[in-house]
Every structure is written in C-alpha cells, then in structure tokens.
C-alpha cells in the first residue's frame, strides 16, 4: 500500500561526483515489493521546490526497516536533499509503481542487468533478489567518466560486472550496448534502467528476447492521477491508448510502450 511517512535519515553520504547514497528508516519499508519501484520525495517544508522528486529504491532491508536510494544532486530539489543530515527527516510517499518482474527467469538461468548512470541503483536490489532466487546474474554498468562510477564493488559481489565509461577513463571504453557485443554476453532475460536513448538501442537489439525496461518521465502526482507521465502503447502508437509511467510502470516489457 502507498503510504506517506516522515522517514528518518540513518545514513547519507557522497559516493561519487554529485552522487549521494541515502538510507531512510521507517514503517513504509514494510510495504516495499519488487525491485524497481520508486518513492516520491518532498525535500523542503515550503513551496520551493513545490513538487516531489521521484527516486528509485536501490536496496531494501526489511529487518532494519531501512531502504537506500542513490541520487544525483543536480537541480534545486536534489541539491537541497543532499544537504540533509543524519537524523533529519524526509517526507516520503511510496512505494510507487511496479518493479521488475522476477518470474520471467528461473533458478539456474542467466539474467543480464544493464544500467546507465543514475539508472544503475535500482538494479542492485534486483540483482540481490535474483541471486537469492538462484539466478546467475551479470552486470554491465555504463557511466560517463571515472569520477561518476559507483556501486561497482557491490555488483561485483553478486556476479560478473563490466563497467564502461563513455570516455574510457575507467573500465571498458564505449557504450553498454557495444560492451554486451564485445564480451559476447549470453543471457535468458535482460533487465535495464538508464537514459532513454540507451533503452531504445537495447530494445532494438534485444527486444526479441525477454527484456524489461525501466522508464523515466517528468511527474506530477506519481500515483496515476495527473496524466503527466503517459506514453503511447506500442500497438497504438499515435492513438489514445496509453500507459502511465508512474503507476503502470516504471518497468515495462520490451514492445509494450513507445520509448
């Protein structure tokens, strides 16, 4: 169930250039389900910034009632958020949306998780849950440059992890898509989250196999009421049928919606 809660910051640190890892504690964690869901954060009391900010859930710890997010402090809202300290509270609405389905890959099969930039975080909880299920995981994580790389160690513990950078300053030089080819990665199911252009290429190259993509869109309500975040469905690309990224997504099966 969707809840609103003033959650307490138990940990907050910078883990890469402009990138912060934030751990919150509260009862809302009990409601969290599939990896890939997100929360909607109000970062100030007043009316600037006015709107909530959607941030993916990156790790869930039901034992301690904590969950972790990783976000990029760029605009007004996320910059304000980055100034909050341990024991401060954050107004959280969530969990929202539908995460990655784990049912499409069986124990013993191979899942390839492909993340781009700030799309990497939700794949961590996904990877953990897949591993717990007995699925073999491989990761390809793309970043712009070496100072932007994060979570490599965490993913490496769970399975083979290839880090790419656009400028070659760390790991493989090039895009995640070419890395997948160059390393001739084999997999039964692919999960991905990242910038839309990356998702488009992945869908084109791998959409014939099981592929789940997590989308981003500007949001108002985050719960399906305002129609800010709609996209066309693939079977009616110019018509009136639609999916809402916030409540029907953010994860869609390849071929379900127009990217």
């Amino acid at each position: 169930m969707i809840k609103q809660e003033l959650m307490v910051i138990t940990k907050h640190e910078k883990i890469a250039e402009h990138i912060f890892q934030l751990t919150l504690q509260g009862e809302l964690v009990a409601e969290m389900g599939n990896p890939g869901q997100f929360v909607h954060l109000k970062v100030s009391d007043g009316s600037t910034p006015l709107l909530r900010r959607p941030i993916s859930i990156s790790e869930i710890n039901k034992d301690t009632n904590e969950f972790t997010m990783i976000y990029r402090a760029e605009g007004a809202g996320t910059q304000l958020l980055s100034k909050k300290k341990q024991e401060d509270v954050v107004d959280v609405l969530g969990p929202l949306g539908n995460g990655f389905p784990l049912g499409d890959v069986k124990s013993g099969q191979v899942a390839l998780l492909v993340g781009g930039g700030i799309g990497v975080p939700p794949l961590l909880e996904l990877s953990k849950q897949l591993v717990a299920k007995g699925v073999k995981v491989q990761h390809v994580l793309g970043f712009q440059t070496s100072s932007a790389v994060f979570l490599e160690k965490e993913f490496s513990k769970l399975g083979k992890t290839i880090v790419t950078t656009d400028d070659g300053s760390y790991g493989y030089k090039g895009f995640v898509t070419t890395a997948i080819e160059d390393y001739q990665l084999q997999f039964d199911c692919m999960y991905t989250c990242g910038p839309t252009p990356m998702l488009r290429v992945l869908e084109k190259l791998h959409g014939h196999n099981p592929l789940f993509l997590s989308l981003e869109e500007r949001m108002g309500c985050g719960i399906g009421a305002c129609f800010a975040c709609v996209c066309h469905t693939a079977d009616d690309p110019t018509g009136a049928s639609y999916k809402k990224v916030c409540s029907d997504g953010p994860v869609f099966k390849a071929g379900e919606v127009v990217l």
Partner: protein
C-alpha cells in the same frame, strides 16, 4: 458547521479536489475514503477520447507548476459508463468538467454527462482554444463565453457552473456576461498561461511550449479575482488557485467564494483534502465562527462581524 448548499450541490463540507488534479478519483481512493470530500471535480471529458499533448507535460516553477496535459481523457461515453458508474459507490456529488473545441462539442458532452445519476453539476472549462475563432480561448471573449453558456444550459439536466480563465483584462465583465447567459455558478480560477525555457537547450521545457501555471504562486491573482467577481454577481463561486492549507481555504471564503477546490496541492500531499477538512472546524472556532458560511465574503461585506468577535 461545514455544510454548504449550492445550486445542485448539497455539500457536507466546502472542500473538493479541482478538475484534472484528481483524475476520476480511483488513485486517491486507495489512499483515503473519498466519502470525506465535499464533492469531486472530475477530469475534463471531451466528445472523443484524447491522448493529449506530447511529454514533457509538466514543469516546476517557483511556488508553482506548469502543465499542458492536453485534456487527455477516454471520451464522454467511457467516462459515463466506467468512471461515473464506479464513483457511484461514494456518497459524494460529482461536478463534471466539460471541455471541447467548438460549441457543439460542449453541448454533446454536457447533454450526455449531465444525465449521470451522481453528476449534480457541470463545470464548463472555457479556457480551451476555440477552433472556430482561430484558437482564441472561449473564456477570453465575453460574448463567446456567454453564447457557450447559453447553449449548454439548454441541454444540461443539472446546474451549470462556468470556470473562468484568469487570462483576461476584465474578469468582472466576463463573469457578468456569463451570469447573464444563465450560469448557475462560477468556478475560478483556471491556470495562468506561462512558460519555462531550458537553459542548456534554449527550448521550452514543456513539449507543448506553453502551459498552465498553478499552485501557490497564483493565489494572490485568484483571491483578487474572487474578491472582485463575488461583489459583482449574485451567483455563487467555487474558488481555487494555490490552496494548500486551511488558512488558504479561509482566505478564499473571505474573498467571496462559497466553497473551494484544491488542485496542485494534491500532488504535493495526496492527503491534503481530508487533512484540511479535518482541521477546518477547529480553525473556524479559533477565529470565532460558528459556521463556515460566516466567512463567505467577509473581506467586503460591510456588516460582517469581526473575525475576533466571539459571543
């Protein structure tokens, strides 16, 4: 202490979500009991299903937001058969927001939707561009707005409220023309037209280029317009524009509104309507009122008892 009677509407309290900011209620019904609401202004219905504008459709501004949803809706038939039927489970009168591109569209939708059992009033969204006048909004020319009101009044089975656009030089002239044309009430204000440009690309942030500005930023404009119009017309007003708190509600009532709607604030705090409803009685008591109706128009009513007066 909170009940209000308006043409067609018997409200248990004067608080309702504004059109387009609450869908058809399904999502919020999972968060709280909709029976608490005074009314619900449902999302605009048009004759045909509409997908609306390309995304991005929203952008944030200082104390406000821009939206250009583009009246996305499944078309009046589906609204009637699916959404309104679903809403029948709640004991809440529905105000159906009606939109179109020409008078005939409004007439079509109004006639259909006003037959629904739980639709107790219509709200004409006259901020839509009128295809017959080259896209000039119905709500910016008094004669056009009056003509539309008349046409809809003829077919509607329930009272008709007209939603004023704030993008005019003379809101009183507009309100009077609409009252004269037979409207049963007014709702105000719709959004101001605004725009944001992206500093990196130089292009509008919203795909539609311009969008409607809503939220706390526009409250002073809304209050001024309700204040002016409520003194010039004798039909009731449902006020809106930037309401976030119980004090904002009272400010609108003081200005001359008989009830209020909450729009953008639902996105910030999905529980804002029930929270305000819960706080209202105490706040009224604190201010010395015995019934919410005593607040209505007290900014300009000569004989209004002072707020701090308590018997």
């Amino acid at each position: 202490m909170l009940n209000i009677q308006l043409p067609g509407l018997s409200l248990k309290n004067p608080i309702m979500p504004a059109s387009g900011c609450f869908g058809f209620g399904r999502e919020y019904s999972q968060l709280f009991d909709l029976n608490q609401l005074g009314s619900i202004m449902i999302k605009a219905s048009t004759q045909e299903a509409r997908f609306g504008n390309p995304t991005p459709r929203v952008a944030e501004t200082e104390s406000g937001m821009l939206n250009a949803i583009g009246l996305q809706n499944p078309g009046v038939e589906k609204v009637v058969s699916e959404e309104l039927v679903w809403l029948e489970q709640f004991d809440v009168p529905i105000i159906a927001n009606v939109a179109g591109s020409q008078v005939e569209d409004y007439v079509y939708v109004a006639e259909k939707i006003s037959q629904s059992k739980n639709v107790k009033a219509l709200e004409l969204n006259i901020s839509c561009p009128n295809v017959k006048t080259g896209g000039i909004a119905f709500g910016t020319i008094p004669e056009v707005a009056a003509q539309l009101t008349k046409a809809v009044k003829e077919v509607s089975a329930v009272p008709v409220y007209v939603k004023l656009s704030p993008n005019v030089a003379n809101i009183v002239e507009m309100a009077k023309a609409i009252e004269h044309a037979g409207a049963d009430g007014l709702t105000m204000i719709n959004t101001l037209i605004g725009m944001r440009l992206d500093i990196k690309t130089g292009k509008p942030v919203i795909a539609n280029k311009t969008g409607g500005l809503s939220g706390p930023a526009i409250k002073p404009v809304a209050i001024r317009m309700v204040y002016e119009v409520s003194q010039a017309v004798s039909i009731p007003i449902i006020g809106m524009g930037g309401i976030q708190t119980v004090d904002d509600v009272i400010e609108f009532l003081y200005a001359g509104a008989s009830a209020v709607a909450v729009g953008t604030a639902n996105f910030v705090n999905p529980f804002v309507c029930p929270e305000i409803i819960a706080e209202l009685p105490n706040r009224l008591k604190e201010l010395g009122f015995e019934h919410v109706s005593e607040c209505v128009g007290r900014s300009w009513k000569q004989d209004a008892k002072t707020a701090n007066y308590s018997s």
